[in-house]
Amino acid sequence: MSQVKKEEIRAGTEEFRGARSKPLLECSRLASVYFKNYFREVEERAAQGEPVIWLQVDCPQEICHAMGLPVFYPMHYSALMAAKQMSPYYLNIQNQRGYFRDLCRYCGHALGCVWDHKSEIAPWGGPPKPAAVVVATFDDPIAKVYELFAREYNVPMFVIDRTMWSNFPSRFWEDPEIEPHRLEWEVEQYEGLIAFLETITGKTLTETKLRQVVDSSNQQFGYFIKAMNMVAGTVPCTITVADHMPNLICTNYFRGTEWALEHARRFYEEIKERVGKGLVACENEKIRLGWEGAAPWFSPGFLNAFEEKYGAVFVWLGYITGLENFVRLNYSDPLTALASRYLEYLAWVSHFPPTACSYYLHMAKKYKLNGFVFLVAESCKALTASMRFIQRELQAAGIATTEITGDIVDAREWDDTKARSQVASWIETLLT
């Protein structure tokens, strides 16, 4: 019955069906499989009474991994809901409940599923009940969204009060110094978080285990950096963003775990093999493009749509980037290493000019990009606010840009024909 109901919902809410992306790597398939298996594992552990922690992606998940806690990421689940073509259904539920349409949809999307209370139709059976939720202050609505999660399940919430750079470093990817008082404050927050988690879950964190996880995560990101450096150097490119997405994004949710380290190594080896054999993603490559923002998760295949006809290949995804900053070495204790990671993370995810502008220019040159497409997701102020500044910087350097309006998860506002036409028109101007 549930399959029929799901299909009814999908058929009733939209005629448009998103396109799947076309990854080339075996790793990409494995990453997707792992995520689904992990979700099942979390469900089983929750069913057996283990406490599950809901985390926003910019929170120190390494602490949870070191404590052996099962974790769930509403943001990842939001992407899954969109990929299952159910975002119109759930977003309508949110809007009916008073969730204003122009509020963040990507990070807040899981609310629709939580409020619907219908596990029989929810993707993968719906989210596991949390024992607690953890969020860091960032864009306006996110803490409120997590508060709503906490209220819905009547569980406690921990808020990491994250500080902002007072002077954004212009080349943050070169490991600028973080103000000591900010580091101290962040570490203090983590100590509070650990105490909170230990109280809620009854589990204990040891420094040894945390150090091991942080070291593993450093190695994990080290592999990705080496792999992506190889990718940047290949012309035609050896993989496209269709392979970045599952590998970089999926492992980003498992920082420092055994699986993530092993997967990162596997990813590196597979890239190395492809480069060694001269394997390319698109024989016909004529134009190398960057995509800014997350892919439209209801149609990630959009990013492969211009290869066959135009040889236009999306080589770089400006989403999970700043990998260099994820590697935190030369710290005396793992908590300070983590604190510095997340404060650095804040520098690129904030997309503030001039730092974001110089970063995108740096990556455009590194990946030899001819142009950039900006997905202007009007509900995501954090990602979109600085897009015009970044575009101007790129244009001044002779790199073409264009923007299309859409949303990362909301298929209701996506005109696929128009979006393809717009990008195709722009590509045609680059080719003539």
Binding site: T405, T417, K418, S421, A424, S425, E428, T429
Partner: protein, 265 residues
């Protein structure tokens, strides 16, 4: 050599056949239909009949427009940006900016002295500033499209239409009618609202470069054309059949493909 350009727009489909000397032998238009492929075939047959040609006489077909992929018998398809630019370039070689306002979308194209597109902008998902907006307003005011020019010219002032949304603007227009604001002033205000919206879009591309062409179905609307020319401070180049530039450009593109193939041989 005979070539065909097919513009499958969101509101209207157009087919043009062009001869050896760039003469237009036939041009047919019909409202867009759900079965775009069948429509394209029917219009193709009508165009052939009008030109006294058979399908075997055609050397190359290029399709463009929103529904360009729904023309399976086209040898190639290209986006409307490129085709509109090319069409206008052949009509008015001095033009560097094309403002195209169609039934459901509006766009502005900047091109160089060889008709190559340098930059373009399109409207977002909103219908304000498109032909749809003019239809709604024309109905509300009960003034037919072909009379807008004379009515707008007669207005001593323009009512201010502050809403950017088509639906809310219609309500605003009705309110003004209730307040006995003269219809010509309301209509002039409507035209100004359309032009303002279009100019905001154009400004995303930077300053307007002369000469400027105005194409698309709304270019037939003399009221909008008047105010657009006034606000831009230019004389607009308007084709005799403003909706035809997409199909025209597709014809010229078809000729290029034929020439390229011949050059290879």
């Amino acid at each position: 050599m005979y070539v065909v350009g097919i513009d499958m727009g969101s509101v209207a489909a157009k087919v043009m056949i062009m001869g050896d000397n760039d003469e237009v032998l036939s041009y047919v238009v019909a409202d867009a239909k759900p079965d775009a492929e069948a429509l394209a075939k029917r219009l193709m047959n009508e165009a052939l009949e009008q030109a006294h040609l058979r399908s075997e006489d055609i050397s190359y077909i290029v399709s463009t427009g929103y529904g360009r992929v729904n023309v399976p018998f086209a040898a190639e398809n290209r986006t409307e940006i490129m085709c509109h630019a090319l069409g206008v370039y052949h009509l008015f070689p001095s033009v560097r900016t094309v403002i195209d306002i169609g039934g459901q979308d509006s766009k502005c194209i900047r091109m160089d002295d060889k008709g190559r597109v340098q930059n373009f902008v399109m409207n977002d998902k909103c219908a304000a500033g498109t032909g749809r907006f003019t239809e709604v307003m024309g109905r509300a005011l009960d003034i037919s499209f072909d009379r807008w020019g004379e009515v707008v010219s007669s207005a001593p002032r323009r009512a201010r239409i502050s809403n950017v949304c088509t639906v809310f603007a219609e309500s605003e227009v009705i309110s003004k009618m209730t307040e006995k604001v003269p219809l010509n002033e309301i209509l002039a205000g409507v035209c100004e609202a359309i032009v303002t919206r279009v100019i905001q879009m154009i400004q995303r591309m930077g300053a307007v470069e002369k000469d400027v062409a105005f194409t698309g179905g709304v270019a037939n609307n003399k009221g909008v054309a008047q105010i657009l020319a006034e606000k831009l401070g230019v004389d607009l180049f308007i084709p005799k059949i403003p909706q035809s530039t997409g199909a025209l450009g597709a014809c010229y593109l078809a000729k290029r493909f034929v020439a390229r193939a011949a050059g290879i041989r």
